[in-house]
Symmetry: C2
Subunit: 341 residues, 2 copies
Amino acid sequence: MKPVRFSVVGVEHLHAFLQAGLLVEAGAELVSYFSPEGDLLAGFSQMFPQARRVPDQREIMLDDTISLVVCAARPDLRAATAVEAMQHGKDVFVDKPGATTLGQLEELRRVQSITGCRWVVFFSERLTSPATIRAGELVGAGAIGEPVHTTGLGPHQLTSSPRPEWFFDPAHTGGILADLASHQVDQFLHFTGARDARVQAALVANWNRPDHRDFEDFGEVLLSSAGATGWAQVDWLSPDGLGTWGDVRLTILGTEGTIEIRKNIDLAGRSGGDHLLIVDDRTVRHVDCTGVELPFASSLLADVLDRTETAMTTDHAFRATELALQAQAQATRLGLLSGQS
Amino acid sequence: MKPVRFSVVGVEHLHAFLQAGLLVEAGAELVSYFSPEGDLLAGFSQMFPQARRVPDQREIMLDDTISLVVCAARPDLRAATAVEAMQHGKDVFVDKPGATTLGQLEELRRVQSITGCRWVVFFSERLTSPATIRAGELVGAGAIGEPVHTTGLGPHQLTSSPRPEWFFDPAHTGGILADLASHQVDQFLHFTGARDARVQAALVANWNRPDHRDFEDFGEVLLSSAGATGWAQVDWLSPDGLGTWGDVRLTILGTEGTIEIRKNIDLAGRSGGDHLLIVDDRTVRHVDCTGVELPFASSLLADVLDRTETAMTTDHAFRATELALQAQAQATRLGLLSGQS
């Protein structure tokens, strides 16, 4: 079978490296990439010397041998790229957030429904986390009964790496709930099996960035479905002494037990990441997640070839993005944001 | 100085033992107790043989040598006892929830303002937790900058001990937010220094108790103040294998660091309870909380004698209770509760 040939449009987030790397490792062929000059391009060409940098993204769009477009452009530019790619019959694998406004999402849905292309969002906090994949297996096997709640914590360090100026402008990033909390919405829908949900409350704040008064350094969202609730906190307040970029966690509360995943660090505890702690009616266990396979990239490539939806349904990608954008749109504004429109 | 003489009205919750024990240990004299016949009375008389059981609570109210009434009656009966005690010039130290309706709270406020008596609520998850007291010292010293968020987790085991029938009826308990989340509201106000707050969202659910369809086995509340937000999850879903009655935690997010308190258990980690984990700009530390003194009971007795408010201001006790009751009153009802009035 011939490998899936793909290109990258937009290398504005480090996720571009991860997205391309996952696909190459799963057997796809990285053909080319386009991006406006950016800080990350030198590293990208070094990491993927086999790929050709093209001067115009139309070259990618018009190449019929390319069936998949990966996008990690500036967030507000991603939807337009995805729309263009789908209009050229290409599937899309876009970094989160896949859209920064509800209007963009509507257009994506319209074009996707006409073209039948795949639109898959890179929810890395689930898809590339061995402990989270193992949690999915455990939940699926009934290890904690019916999931009724997810708690998603997505704290991030702001100061550990330099950020481009657009990073501080919600008009470009979509805002903290669109950007970061979309991971948590994805995990809520995935683990509770909810097809739909409602934003019960949402809020964003600027607590500690008087130098960037529009920047949202904190956000929360509370979701409910017919059978579960989900709460998420995301922020850019993680202290430098943490030792990793954020103490990201996910807890799944079931009717018969709980699973807690400490994705990046076991605070003042065991070394390394990927700590899965399960409590059931019998005991508390620390579950070893080494050796857990990440099926996402292989599934995505199979989907591109077979026109299936095993890696992520388009419906899920749209719904998770929509909920994050709805939360963002209706969020109460606190701290330095209060009083601003 | 003569010791404070106190009596107990209502021994319907195990907290009565803890409340009386704390006061006795701090030098107060337990004179008498009244309670309708209950499962806990035999143990109480055994633990406090010095106290006389009286057949009518009026005997306590009319005894002018008794200056403090402790109450751990059925929750919906506590406010009436407190009102009667204050009308007889006695201070009140009541188990949480101190009231089960906003109407009760209004009456408590009215009588308190006339009498000037103390009305103090036993928020044990803060007041009797060495790690939480240490956290207060650290926050007060600026160890994590300005606190901007508290995450309060109050999971509880339901099946580990038999429960009286009234326990399953929100008309008697006030509901899960009034009962359990009042701890978290207390801690939100205490740690963020907020004088007031708003309920952004609240919800309660019956996910797993078809045998008690009115029972709320899950609840969430999201609060905001001018300078901080607080989220709490409380439930009766903790699995039997946990090894303790609930993996109660509190996380305080500050502008310069974080503190996480694992009050009862360090899941699959260190033994014992009272784990305080602090992260600041330099490092991650597990802080030893042995030897931390719990000043609450001594402060309360001094307040009774000196008419001060060092242990807990009446304003704080009222505001924390009110927010929990407001959340309870406006909570969205999910699971088996949905569709019920």
